[in-house]
Symmetry: D2
Subunit: 360 residues, 4 copies
Amino acid sequence: MDAQTRIQEENVELHREALLRTPVEHFDIAAVDTRPILAMYEQMRFTAAELSRAYRILSAGLADEDCCLFLSLAGSTSAAGCMDIYRDLVDAHLVDAIVATGASIIDMDLFEALGFRHFHRQDDLNDDQLREHEIDRIYDTYIDERDLRVCDETIQKIANGLEPGAYSSRQFIREIGRWLDNEGSEYCKKDSLIAAAYRNNVPIFCPAFSDSSAGFGLVAHQTEHPDAHVTIDSVRDFRELTTVKTSFKESALFMVGGGTPKNFIQDTVVCADLLGHPSRMHKYTVQITVADPRDGACSSSTLSEACSWGKVDRALEQMVFSEASLSVPLLASALFHQHAKDKRKPRNAAGTLSTAQNTP
Amino acid sequence: MDAQTRIQEENVELHREALLRTPVEHFDIAAVDTRPILAMYEQMRFTAAELSRAYRILSAGLADEDCCLFLSLAGSTSAAGCMDIYRDLVDAHLVDAIVATGASIIDMDLFEALGFRHFHRQDDLNDDQLREHEIDRIYDTYIDERDLRVCDETIQKIANGLEPGAYSSRQFIREIGRWLDNEGSEYCKKDSLIAAAYRNNVPIFCPAFSDSSAGFGLVAHQTEHPDAHVTIDSVRDFRELTTVKTSFKESALFMVGGGTPKNFIQDTVVCADLLGHPSRMHKYTVQITVADPRDGACSSSTLSEACSWGKVDRALEQMVFSEASLSVPLLASALFHQHAKDKRKPRNAAGTLSTAQNTP
Amino acid sequence: MDAQTRIQEENVELHREALLRTPVEHFDIAAVDTRPILAMYEQMRFTAAELSRAYRILSAGLADEDCCLFLSLAGSTSAAGCMDIYRDLVDAHLVDAIVATGASIIDMDLFEALGFRHFHRQDDLNDDQLREHEIDRIYDTYIDERDLRVCDETIQKIANGLEPGAYSSRQFIREIGRWLDNEGSEYCKKDSLIAAAYRNNVPIFCPAFSDSSAGFGLVAHQTEHPDAHVTIDSVRDFRELTTVKTSFKESALFMVGGGTPKNFIQDTVVCADLLGHPSRMHKYTVQITVADPRDGACSSSTLSEACSWGKVDRALEQMVFSEASLSVPLLASALFHQHAKDKRKPRNAAGTLSTAQNTP
Amino acid sequence: MDAQTRIQEENVELHREALLRTPVEHFDIAAVDTRPILAMYEQMRFTAAELSRAYRILSAGLADEDCCLFLSLAGSTSAAGCMDIYRDLVDAHLVDAIVATGASIIDMDLFEALGFRHFHRQDDLNDDQLREHEIDRIYDTYIDERDLRVCDETIQKIANGLEPGAYSSRQFIREIGRWLDNEGSEYCKKDSLIAAAYRNNVPIFCPAFSDSSAGFGLVAHQTEHPDAHVTIDSVRDFRELTTVKTSFKESALFMVGGGTPKNFIQDTVVCADLLGHPSRMHKYTVQITVADPRDGACSSSTLSEACSWGKVDRALEQMVFSEASLSVPLLASALFHQHAKDKRKPRNAAGTLSTAQNTP
């Protein structure tokens, strides 16, 4: 390396530090009580009314003793500052099971558990320049690409430690939780959704698990162990998730974004029917999204449309037309203050899965 | 009328009562202090960060002693429950001048000043059936069409009482304010934005004034008085608004929605230049809208784009991607609690218009 | 001026030339026949089906001998390449009256009539830099700000030549048409919508006329002639537009975008009723927009909602979810090829306005 | 069953027939040549210009002899009338590999291959009533729920015929293709994308395969064979897709919608790097979507943003802001007429996967 190259590289390093300066801090739902705001929204119309009704519906779901509440996560709200909200809801026994994108669980939650951070976008560097600085961008957040590689390697390390065989994503994520709680505790810098879910017997399902940092780690693992290795069987995820659904009389869906998680949790009603264990439609359903229904896609499709498929009960469903970073804190804070101190009984959704299903 | 027809009509009347049952109540910004929420949003990203930055920008504008704050209103947020917010901001001296659609000022604000209400949509009556019930719909709100006609007639009555001649909308709305404060006080059931603006010397401009109930009333007035009547000269509005703009060193724009008001207030910078009174670009600018910039229209155009036209300073501008009923209460409450008790000095923007301009 | 400043200014001039290099060319609806495409869209669903149904509806409106077709224009589609489409529809007798934003008619159509052009955005100059180069941006188009000033001055010159008094925007725009056809013909470089409308007795209404370059020119005119000058009476516009509406048994609306034009033309039904000349709801109505109805604003409101107000017949209405530059050419080409050679009889909508109304 | 119940059921059956009356017919890209339209769009701006540039980029990708073109499908465009477009592109050797949602491939393409159809929405039955009629709705299309069950069963039958073990979705879909071409040919009523892909060695990957009718069929298969059964290993999909990517010097992405397929195909660049086979960024990339980037999610994220991650080259990328049913036919027809007769050499992407990878 000649002098000039070294100077350039040093400049990149200095610039990287400047670009990765202001970390995202997550909203703390315990710190404010938004119920008075939602009470006024209730008398209004448009989106304000939608959000207050979403609160009433999920609140009813939480108060229903026969009901299991599923949180569905798509999009990058965890990167943008909602990450601790989901963890705190789990710890307060207000979420019983989770269906999520791999990115939310691995690239964001495990990533911050390992001590890495998301950062505020700093200025108008273009995306070519960011690439040269090894900085990845999600809208107005920055991620250090080098940190992400550690996340991939952690997945690989955990996979290497497991018995070869077919795992559901739920089983694999539970192993991550176990690792965070045990040998990984020395690497773990922050309490996380994965860890809280592990502690609280809240299963986490990622129907497209390999479409994330988990995929990178698992590909590396399989390549390293070509003959006997861990595989992720998403069919098993579907069976398990349906078992959770059918283990409770009623269900509530708190959907942040759409995507594969939205479809997967809704489809459990149909799957239950097919397996000869007919189950009721999801009774309390909320989706927060700005996706436009006029594109005819699943993410944007109305919850009413899902009723035609026999998946969602129309009586208590609400779409909320809002980018989630704005509305999820308001909604979750109100649910937390209304229900957390009631000591809602944990549903132990993971316990509905038999031992045979819990190990590969 | 035969018996059957009478019964049908009675049924319609009964049904109308049932449909117009739950009035919209407006958000009360004094009742909650949202600053702790915005402080947490500031550490987040995505829309939450946009809203907190919008707050910082407008707060800086309010703290700037040389600055006049313009509120721009388009869309139906007043019908949906934000109406009192705008009035309360005016009464707290946090808004110095207003540019709005005719609908916001006449069909909504004057309408409720006269004691009428907007109502919650009740059920799935289709729009044909609503028409048969003389109920008008704005998204999920209902309006009694019969009440709207009283609003038209009030405009006609006020116009009939004025000297014939060319008025700016600002002048005409000031006359409405005067009427509400005097002979109209017996009809007036509720304090309103128009009345607060009249009391506080806050001028209100409607660049497309006849595109509203005001248009209906003024058409009736002109038809009734074909030879000598009130006309609305929108060119005069533009001159007057530019005079207000140039009377202050700096300006802030708090834009709710886009439309004609957004363009009109921005254009004052160019107009001032043309009149030989060069004025600085709008310094503190915020727009709340979900309009998609990819349609290339003015309502959705970025504030950065407005900088290319020399209208808006890029340093302190912020678009907020949110339907306004959700975010305006949060933003306005924070501004109110931060600045109302400081007793910000009224800017008396109406006073910048000479007597000659104030009367036709 | 020192040497360095002169060099900088020369650089700006050179750069301006490079930036204003590739002019927008307008779609030529005669050059392709899109009917085979729309016929296939008709068998599909989603937006393709919406567009084909919009074609069927407007086609039925054109075939209806008692029907007057109103074209409503908002947004910047004329800048983006649809300008000649509107002119060609007028020349083919497929549009009978126009309601538009001032920008569409003055800043875009008159602007190009005078020989100026819109240009393709060239590269990533930011908006501050564009301002320094006196280049205005509309999304991905550029406009030379110096050319726009000529447009303002032309308006001023035309206003200076008129008798003082209150004009509707329709009357004033007719005077522009007359000017283009006579003394202005030496400046006129391109055939335009204004000129075609003048030739074909197609009235053009701009309910917010001063919210455009027209406003700049008229403010300059009024300032120059403080005592006796032209004023624009938008109430008169409303009366005249209602007269046109009530002069025909049926009406069709071809709305590109929303905004003030959408509301203004729809309101004529209510205005007619108020004036004691009850008129039927608009029978054939189409709106092309990507505006999201969930914001509760007029631009995005469904045509079905307009039925609750008694303005639009639900039987033949169609919203088309598309940015207009993509779909207007397809739709207009099909209408042109289906109806232009039939020699549809001109409706002479301007002729419905009495002489007394045609002159101030 | 009493008489009344029987009459009700007969009524439902009759109504079902009436509701499922008008099938969706798919756009035929050979029937029209849209190149003259796109040539005019190229001179325009806004979305028209985006679409024409998308055509230029993909056309360049097709002309590049070192380039493999990936088609990525999310959303329901196949149900809405684009289904045959994708098949015809494969048969014309204009698509080399496919990444899709399970719904596009199984619920839509296999579904119609079996002779079932999508239908036009007929009237305003609400979604509760549709459910009672066993009719599923996707926006303005209808599907007979009974037909979908046959689709599930077909998957189950095919799985039952395979050796137990871990399959990639690509392998399983290839088995469906083989079945359609052999024993399934008696059931097969229509040529399909799956069959065309099988014939042309075009691999199809579904990273969330069980999130579809495939999931229902495979759950039934696994439940029926609890001890030895087919599993779907999505990690293997990722390895295989990365192998395809690294087997070609350059790659082009034609993305319809976003979702898991968008992320999965983009991630192959990173995966290749991780596996020690560094690969170039995707060189020619197009995405058609109306998703709003302001929600910070992957589906809506700009292709420029993907460059910061090192996945997409910024030089030749284009987002097209359009619902796909409108623009995919225009784009695909132009590509077809420009390149089909050139007899582009098939890339045989499936052949890049070794025999060991092609069988479980």
